[in-house]
Each structure stands twice: as structure tokens, then as C-alpha cells.
Amino acid sequence: MTRILGASAVMVAFGISIVALGMLLYGIRARRDEFIRAAYAALYVNFALLLVANLAMVWALATNDFSVSYVAQVGSRSTPLFYAVISLWGALEGSILFWGLVLAGYAAAVIWLNREQEGTLVPWAAATLFGISIFFYLLLIVPANPFEAVFPVPADGPGPNPLLQNHILMAIHPPLLYLGYVGLSVPFAFAIGALMSKRLDDWWIRTTRRWTLTAWAFLSAAVVAGMWWSYEVLGWGGYWAWDPVENASFMPWLTATAFLHSVMVEERRGMLKLWNVSLVIATFLLTILGTFLTRSGVLSSVHAFAEGPIGMYFLIFMAIVLLFSLVLIAGRSTELRSTGSLDAVASRETVFLANNLIFTAFTFTVLLGTLFPLAAEAVRGVKVSVGEPFFNRMTLPLCMALLFLVGVGPALPWRAATMDHLRRQFLPPLVVMIVVAAVSLALGVRSPYAVLAFAFGGFALYVNGHEFVRGARARMRTFGEGAATAFIRLFGVNGRRYGGYTAHIGMIVLTIGIAASSAFKAEADATLRAGETLTLRGHTVRYDGVWGREEPQRFVVGADLSVMRNGQAIATMTPRLNFYTGTEQPISTPAVRSRPNEDLYINLMAFHAQGEHVTIRALVEPLVMWIWIGGGIMGLGALIALWPRRRPPVRTSEAPVGRVAFEEPVVPRGVQPVGAMQVRDEGRGTRDEG
């Protein structure tokens, strides 16, 4: 029953989408509004249908209904309910089903918020979203159908991939990733809509920027959560290995970040129109490429995807999207011409251009490094991998350049900077930078990249932090507000700008965390008998004993360790190995003791069956916690920038140098509503603006 309900919901959504797409195209051509409205309604129905299909699958997973093919593939009676439910996104078919839900949700939300828009842009965007939906529904019906009948119904299943049922982050990372990935379909739909309707004006730019930022926030959080999961589960003490799966999630992030910056140049100066449209389309293509890479089996072998059912679908879809977009762009060269030009080298525009150049180079590097092994295998028939050194050597200079620009950009004005301005803006952070570099060198930091990362990080932190101070001071002067009030109101008055600086600070914190933890990692392996100790950077780890415990879905072996510092017992840590049925390889649960200054990370490598001795790997990594915190700050920055607020009816360009550096408040002081009230009020007033 559940199976038929889910399968037919998808089928109906597929049928409705085709009909609605036809109605949209007709409605746009014939200027028949009622057809367009009816098609919009179909998007809401689709969302309901996909919700039904996903709930049906969750129900089937929760009740171990092995007559459903996907449950027979990833379910097992011994899997705890929580992990049974989240295995919805644990394998190909389920994750496409979930993808469909997220896409339908985005489509419904986008169209609902913009349903009153005049012109053909939104109808074209809706048509694009229908087009993408039809592709994914097709996948769900033919090559990746999760609702196929299984006969005879098996008594039990193999259970989800052990790696996916070993940590709570698996409940968080994939949904965030899908919200980010799928969310990037929305800017693409708007880009196609703008190109089709020739309406490449301020409105499409603002709306697209907003939706890109939404998806970007999810994707950023997803990438950081993925790093965290890798750190907490894989047991090697690292968080990023330039694995193709990681690269797949990282590449659209790079191009989306580039777009979020270059779009400001278009908004302010009317430049880079063609470039921005291209970035949006490239970002969408990279999400499809990423899904192809991770889901088609192409990574294990070029020839595997031909055997697998789904690879060809993705390739054809990508080809269609690429061709269609290129033809469309070529036909709109007049509309995509720049209306402004670069005035001076020392300006914020230049920094944005450099930023985009670096992000593009970054994306190319990662793309080539990821695809090269596939090309080599296909063309030369050799099995190669592109080593981590390649990625590090190529991208570290780019990372440093970006970190430097994060500091330079906010300190430069639009159009052109005067010498005096440059001196005033750059002297203090330069002093900070030199001091940080000197202190790092004095403390014995020898890795050039680490010194650079700290120095540029200090520079950029100063500049971005100073923007808050400057803004708050100006408010205090102008409105006589207290320091705290002025600081908080900055976000309310110009959340976009200060949200951006907040995201910068998050990025800088994250980068410093990565630099410190990789440059000052201490690592030691030891085989210990009961009572023996291992000492690593001030921590003494004593092995006390090993134990085993049988759980429904796994057998757990843990080693009890006491950690001492300066002769004082500070913690007991219990790294574990989990043996899941059906797989030989145990999944580790490293014990991690996180502190703001450093993490102590212990992984159980091996144990003697009688508990005589264990082999452990211990790592001390400074500032790891700040990577996750930095990721959180980035997400917070995006949230601040996205928070709905009332905008002035006429957009004023940024105040020139030396004047008050924030936009004037809309409501006169004294009648300014507070917090939540303001939000509710504004939710009614303006929709999807800013």
C-alpha cells in the first residue's frame, strides 16, 4: 500500500509537471494569465505530492516494509528507528526522492513569494523549475525508482551503509547539502527567466542574489558539517582530503561565492552582466555534475557508470542545460552589455574582479583535479589519482590571496580611492598584520603559509571588525545611541552589508582554524599494555582496559583511557570501534576532547582480542573548534543579510568616503519598531526584496 501510494504520488507529479509546463509555455505565448496561474497552482500540488511520497518512504523505512525496493536495499530490522528514518538520504534512490521534495519545496516557495510579479520573468522561471522537476521525477520513475516491488518480500535487509549510521551529523549534513544544492536551481531558474523575458534589470539581480545567498548559507553549513562528520567518524584526525565527493560539494560553493560578490558590481555599476549570468548557470551545472560524480559510480571506475542506470541521464541533462543556456546567452548579447566601466585600479570593483578571477581559477583547479583521473582512465586506460599535494600546492596560494582580499576589499571605496583614504584605511591593519607575523615567527611558526594565514587573517579581521566599530561610532554620533544599541541597530539598518562582514569574519576564523590545526598537528601511535602510557604535547594517556558490548545492529569495542596533564587526571576518553553486520571493516568512533585552544583526538586502531594491549593513534590539533565556529558565524552572517527588512523606496548609492557609512534608517528615530514586530510588519510590506 505504502509502495503504491509513494509511486503514484511521483507519477502524478510527473504528469502534472508536463501538463503545467505546456500550460505555462502557452500562457506566456498567448498572454493568457489564467493558464499561468493554473500552472503555479500545480507547483503547490507537486510539493504536496512529493511530501506524500517522502512520508510514505519514511513510513516504509520506519516500519521495515521490505516489499519496497529501497527499504529492502537499505533497511534492516536491527537498525534503530532514528537511523532507519534518516537512511532516506542514505543511498541513490532515496536521496533523489528527497531531492525531489526539496526542489518542489523551493519551487513552491519561490513562486508563492513572486506570484504577483508582472511580466514573463517569473512564468519563465517557473517553467525552468518544471523542466528540472520533470528530469528528477523521470529519474524517480525509471532508473532510480525507490518504490519498486520486491517479490518475494525478504525477511530482513542489509541495513544502511555503516558509515551513515554511526554519527548524528548524518542527520544534519545531507539535508543541509540538498537544501544548498537544490536551492541553486532557483537562481538558475531566475537567470533563464530573465534571459527569456529580456528583463535583466535590478529586480532580477536582487531576487537572484537573495536566493543564491539562501542556498549558499545552506551549502556553506553543509560543507562545514561534512568536514566535521569526516573528523568525527573517519578516524584520521583530518577534515578535508580533496576527495572527489568533497570537491563535488565545494565547486558550486566556489562559483556561488564568486557570484555573491560580482553581483554587487552589477548592482552598483552595471558591469559584469554577462559574467554574472554565466556564473549562475555554471553553478547550477556544477551541482548537477556533483550529483553525477557522487551518484553514478563514475568515481570508482569510468566504466561503472555505464553499467549503472543513472549516469547517462545526468550527462544528457547536463548537455541539454549547457546547450540551451549558451544559445540563450548568445541571443541576448545586447541586453548583457555592460553599462558601466572601471574607473580606477584602487577601488572595490577591482577587488571584486580579482576575487572573481581567483574563485574561477580555484574552481578550475578543483574541477581539473577531480576530472583528470576519469579522463586518464577513459583515454589511456590507466588508474591514477591526483594526489593531495596537487590540490594543496595549487589552492593554498589562492586561499592566501582570497584571505588578503577579504581584508583589502571592505577597506576600499567604490569607484576610486584617494591616497589619503588609502593611508588612513590601511595603516592600522598593516601594523596589525606585521605584528601578527612577527609574533608568529617569534613563537616558532616556520611554515610560510601558516605565517601568511595568521598575518593576513589578522589584517582582514581588523578591517572587517573595524567596519562595525566605524558604523557604530557614526550611529552614536548621529543618533546619540549607546555603543551596544548602535552596534545591534547596524544589523537592522543595513543587514546586508554587516551580514556580509559577519560572514567574512566567519571565513577568516575558519581559515585560521584550518591553518593552525594543520600546521601544528602533533601525532603519535602507540601500542599500550594495561597501565602503560603515551605522552603527546603535555597530555599523558594511560590505557586502562578494553570492553565489548553487543548492540542490536552492531558490536562495539571500546578502550578506556585516562588522560592526565601535569600529573592531574583531566579526562577519561573511550575511543571505540563499531563492527556492523555485513561489513568487515569496523567503523571508528574516535574520542575527541575539544577545547578552544586545542583538541585531543584519540582513535582506537586495533586491539588484542583478550584485551592485553591496544594500539591507539593520538593527535593534538590546535584551534580545530574554531573551524566549526567559523562555519557557524558564516551561516549567521548569511542569516543577518537575509533577514527581511524595509528598504528605502529609492536606492541610494553608498555614502562617499568620510561620510556616515551606513544607509539612513527608513523610519525616523523614536518611532522605530523593535525586533520581531518590525519583521512581521515587513513580511507584509515587501516580499522577497533586498
Partner: protein
């Protein structure tokens, strides 16, 4: 820059962009070439002759039964990796994973030294469910394939 006519500026910009991009492309190409890690079996590594030495390689095979010598005090591991054809002596420091034992499929990453010993910097037990011990007389290529199925991570 400012006074120059649009067309000339655009050409200049285009030339600059092409120069930067091709320079960067060349850097990437060179970088990839230097950092390519080939996935080989012991037989294939032996077949490379002189060029086998000191190049980063991922070597896949199974642990030859009876060849493992593990010094728990020194965390020093020596074993022979075989693909059914040729063997390769492997030396690795640090603790092997729990599953490491005779006849299990492993991938070691490292370099072949002039001493004829493969110095491994990382050792992975092949955790493919499809792994199976080689049949008597099985061709190395088959083992290679059964090892690579599921990806070399």
C-alpha cells in the same frame, strides 16, 4: 586606462585574461603531471623498471600469508604484498588497522626505494564487500579489478 576608447580597452582586457588563464592552465597541467599517483599492482610496478623508483604510487594487492612481521614496540610493520604474480616487500610505520591480517586486500601509498622495499606512508585495508581472496592461478588484472571496485579511498 580611462581615456582609451572602449574597443581597445576590451581587447587589452581580453588579451590579459587569456594570458592569465593560459598561464594558470599551464601551472595546473604541470601540477597534475607531477602529482599523479598511479594505481598499480606489484607486477605492474616491477614492470616499470628504472622509472618505478621514488615515484608516488598506490600499490594494491593482498597480504601474502605468513609474510607479516609486526613489531608492536617499535610500531614497525613489514609484509609482502602480492597480486598472485609478483610480490613486493612493504615497510610501514605506525599501527595497521584492526582488520589487517593475512590474505586481506590492502592499498598502500608510498614509494619504491632503491633498496627494493616499498616504503608506505599510508595503509588502507580495502573495505569493499566484493573483496575475495584470489583463486589459485588467477590473473593479476582480475585482482586489480576486484580491489578497485568501490573506489580506492
Amino acid at each position: 586606462m580611462i581615456g582609451r576608447p572602449q574597443r581597445g580597452r576590451r581587447t587589452l582586457l581580453a588579451i590579459g585574461l587569456v594570458a592569465i588563464l593560459s598561464g594558470f592552465g599551464w601551472l595546473i597541467y604541470g601540477g597534475i603531471g607531477e602529482n599523479l599517483v598511479y594505481f598499480l599492482t606489484p607486477t605492474e610496478l616491477h614492470a616499470k623498471g628504472e622509472t618505478a623508483y621514488d615515484a608516488p604510487v598506490r600499490l594494491g594487492g593482498v597480504v601474502k600469508p605468513g609474510s607479516v612481521s609486526w613489531n608492536a614496540e617499535q610500531l614497525d610493520l613489514r609484509f609482502a604484498l602480492t597480486d598472485g604474480g609478483r610480490d613486493m616487500a612493504v615497510h610501514s610505520r605506525g599501527a595497521p588497522p584492526q582488520m589487517f591480517r593475512d590474505s586481506i586486500g590492502v592499498i598502500v601509498e608510498g614509494r619504491l626505494t632503491r633498496a627494493g622495499v616499498f616504503e608506505s606512508t599510508s595503509l588502507m585495508v580495502k573495505h569493499s564487500n566484493e573483496y575475495r581472496a584470489p583463486d589459485h592461478g588467477e590473473k593479476p588484472v582480475m585482482i586489480d579489478e576486484s580491489l578497485m571496485r568501490g573506489g580506492a579511498r
